[in-house]
Amino acid sequence: MLALIPLLPFAGFLVNATMGKRLPKTVSGGLASLAMLGSFAISVMMVMELAGLAPDARAITEPLYTWFTAGDFELKAALRLDPLSAVMILVITGIGSLIHIYSTAYMHDERDSEFARYFSYLNLFAAFMLTLVLGSSVLVMFVGWEGVGLCSYLLIGFWYQKKSASDAGKKAFIVNRIGDYAFILGALLLATSFGTLEFDGLAAAIAPLPVEHSFGMLSMAALLLFIGATGKSAQIPLYVWLPDAMEGPTPVSALIHAATMVTAGVYMIGRNAVLFTHAPEVLQIIAVVGAATALLAGTIGLVQNDIKRVLAYSTVSQLGYMFLAMGVGAYGAGIFHLYTHAFFKALLFLGSGAVIHALAGEQDIRNMGGLRKHLPITYWTFLVGALAIAGVPGLAGFFSKDEILFETFASGHTVLWVVGAITSLLTATYMFRLVFLTFHGERRHDAPAAPAAHASAHGGHAVDVHADTHAGGHGHGGHGLHDAPAAMAVALVLLAVGSVAAGYIGRPAPLGGSNWLGTWLAPVFEAPVVEIPEATGEFAPPPGSEPEHVEDHAGAADHAAGHDADHEALELTLMGVSSGIAFLGIGFAAFVWLRRRDLADSAARSLAPVHRTLLKKYYVDEIYDAVIVRPIHAFSRDGLWRMDTGIVDGAVNGVASIVAHCATALRRLQTGSVRAYAGSVLVGVVLLLGYYFWR
C-alpha cells in the first residue's frame, strides 16, 4: 500500500515518457495530475492509519524485497511511514498536486511532446521524492536523494536549447554530487561500523553510545551526512546551484527548489536525529552554518532584481533557518518550518509564475510595477505569502519561525538568535520590496516587450520560448494583461489558505495551542522505543547520558506546555520581538520603496561597492570558478593529458623506438663485405677462446 504512493507518479511518468508525445495536452497533463492526487489520497489514508497507532509505536514498515546482499551485509528495499515521513508525504503529494494542476495551465504553450516530457519529469520527481522520504534505510533514501537530483537536472535544463539552462542543470547535478560524495562516505562509515543502514537499526545501535563531546566516529559520520545535506539543501558552501536553478520553469522552482527537494537535507537530519544528537559539535556547526546561510542569502536577496532570484535567495535563507533549528536540536521546530515554508514559498513562486506568465516572460522587477489592479488574484495571494514569510503574527510563517528563534534563544545560542532576528528583518524587507516594486507604484512595463530587450535585461530566460508562443497563443495587447487562468488561480488560492492556516497545528502553548505537530513528531527524534525505559527510568540520570539530551533537545518543543511560567513569558516576549521585527521590516520596505524610492537608489549609489558585491552574490560563483573549476580543467588538459600522451604513452612508444634504433644500428654492421663477416667470425672465435682461457 505504501509502495503505491511513489508508484502512482512513477506510472504516470512511464505513460508520459513512452507515449506522451502522442497524447493531447489535456490527457497527459490530467494523467499526471491525477497520479499525484491519487497518491495524495493514499497518503492521507495511510497517515490516518498511522495516527491510529499508539504514539510510541507510530511506524508502518512495508518491506518490498532484498535489494542486495554481499557477505554479511544485507540491504533491504523497504518503505517506512512514521510521523516525520507522514508530514513529508503530505506536503509532497499535496503541494505537488497543486503544482501539477498549476502547471497544466502554465506550460500550456509548449508543444505536445515537450508538455508530456515536462509532466513525465515532474511525476518522476514526485516518485523519487516520495522514495526519499519513505525509504527505510540510508541507501533507499539515497536512491531518492540522487533521483530527485536527476529530475531537478532534467527540469532545470528543460529548455535545453538555452545554454544557460543546461549549464544550470549541470551545475545543480554536479554540486549535488559533491554533497553526495560526502553523504556516501558517511553512509559507508555508518555501514562499516554498525553493519546496517536501516534507520531503526542505526538509531538502536547509536542510542546506547555515550554522546561524543570530543570529535569521534559518530561526529564524523554526522558531519559527512550534513555536508551531503548542504549540497541538497543549498547551504554554505554548496548553495550556489540553487539561484541558477531558477532557469527551470517556475512551477518546477516552486515544487523542487522551494517546497520539497531542497528540504530533503533538513528531513535527513531529522531522520537521523539520534545520530546528530550524539554529535553536539556537529550540531554546533550545523547551527552556525544555517544561521550564516540565512543571513548571507538574506543580504543578497535584498538587492536582486530578478523576481525569481529574490525568491530563490529567500528560499536559501529560510533553509538556513531550518538548519539553524536542527542545529540547536529543535528538530520539531525545523520540520515545522519546513512544513509551513512549503506552503508560502510555493505560493510565492507560483505567484511570481503568474506574474511572469502575464508579462510574457518578464522577470525583472524593475520593469514591473502597478500590477495590483491588473492581477488582483495574484496580488492578494502573493501578499498573503509575503506576510506569511515575513512572520506576521497569525500566519503560518510566524509560528514556525518564531518557534525556531525561541528554541535558539532557549538553548542559549544568543548570538545565533540575534542573527536569526536580523535575518527575519531582512526577510520582511526584501519580500516587501518585491511586493511593492512588483505590484505597487506606476507601471514601468510595456508588455509584451521584444525578446531582445528582455535578453538584454537578464540572461534571457524563458523569454524566447514564452514571448513568441504568447504572441501566437492568446495575444493580449499592450495593457490587456490577464490574471492567472483558472487552474493557476485555484492553486494560488488553496496555497494562500494553507499559508494562513498551516501554522495552527503547531501553535505553541502560550497562544493556547498544544503544539500538536511537535508532539506528533517527538518520538521520531528520540531513541527507538526499546531504549526508552532506562532513558526516563530514574529521576536524575547522570549528566551527559543519552536520555538527558533527548530531554533538553528534542523534548523541549513538545513538553513546552508543561513548563513553568517565566519560560512562557520568555516565549511571549520573543514572539513580540519577532513580530515587531516583521512589522519593522515591512514598514521600512514601505517607506523606501513606496514613498522615497530615490533613497534606495541614493543608498545604492553611496554604498556602491557593497551594493555591487551583493548584486554579484559576493562573487562566490566567480571565486569557485577561478579557484576550483578552471585549475582542475587546466590541470587535466595541459597537465595530465599531456603527461598521458607524452610521458606514460611516450614511455611505451619509447621502448619501441629504442628497439627500432638498435635495429637500424645493428643493421649497419651488416656491411655486405664478406671480409667484414669473416672478421666477425674471427672476433667470435677470439672471444670464445678468450672466455675459456681468461675466465
Binding site: R667, R668, Q670, T671, G672, S673, V674, R675, A676, A678, G679, L682, V685
Partner: protein, 100 residues
C-alpha cells in the same frame, strides 16, 4: 727428437696466418688460398697427433681432408668464376649488393 708441442705450435701459427689472411686479402683467389693454408695447418696437427699416438688414423684423416679441400676448392673456384662473369672483378668488396 722434436717435441709434439713444437709441431702443434707451428700449425697453430700457420692456422692463425691463414685465418688472418681470409679477411685481410682483397682478392678472392688469395682468400681461397688462405683457407687452404688453414686446412694445411690442421693437417699438420692431425699428423703430429697421430704420430704421437702411434696410430695411422691421423694420416688417413688427412687424406680425407685433402679430398675435402680439393672439392671445396673446385666449387669455390667455380663460384669465383661465376662471380667474375657478373662483375669484372675479384675484389670481395665489389660484391656487396646484398647488405643490411
Amino acid at each position: 727428437m722434436i717435441p709434439l708441442g713444437h709441431y702443434l705450435i707451428v700449425s697453430a701459427i700457420l692456422f692463425a696466418v691463414g685465418s688472418a689472411g681470409v679477411f685481410m686479402r682483397r682478392n678472392l683467389i688469395t682468400i681461397l688460398l688462405s683457407i687452404e693454408v688453414m686446412l694445411n695447418a690442421v693437417n699438420l696437427t692431425f699428423v703430429a697427433f697421430g704420430r704421437h699416438a702411434g696410430v695411422v688414423d691421423g694420416q688417413i684423416i688427412v687424406a680425407f681432408v685433402m679430398t675435402v679441400a680439393a672439392a671445396e676448392a673446385a666449387v669455390g673456384l667455380a663460384i669465383v668464376v661465376a662471380l667474375f662473369r657478373h662483375r669484372e672483378s675479384l675484389n670481395p668488396d665489389a660484391f656487396t649488393s646484398l647488405k643490411w
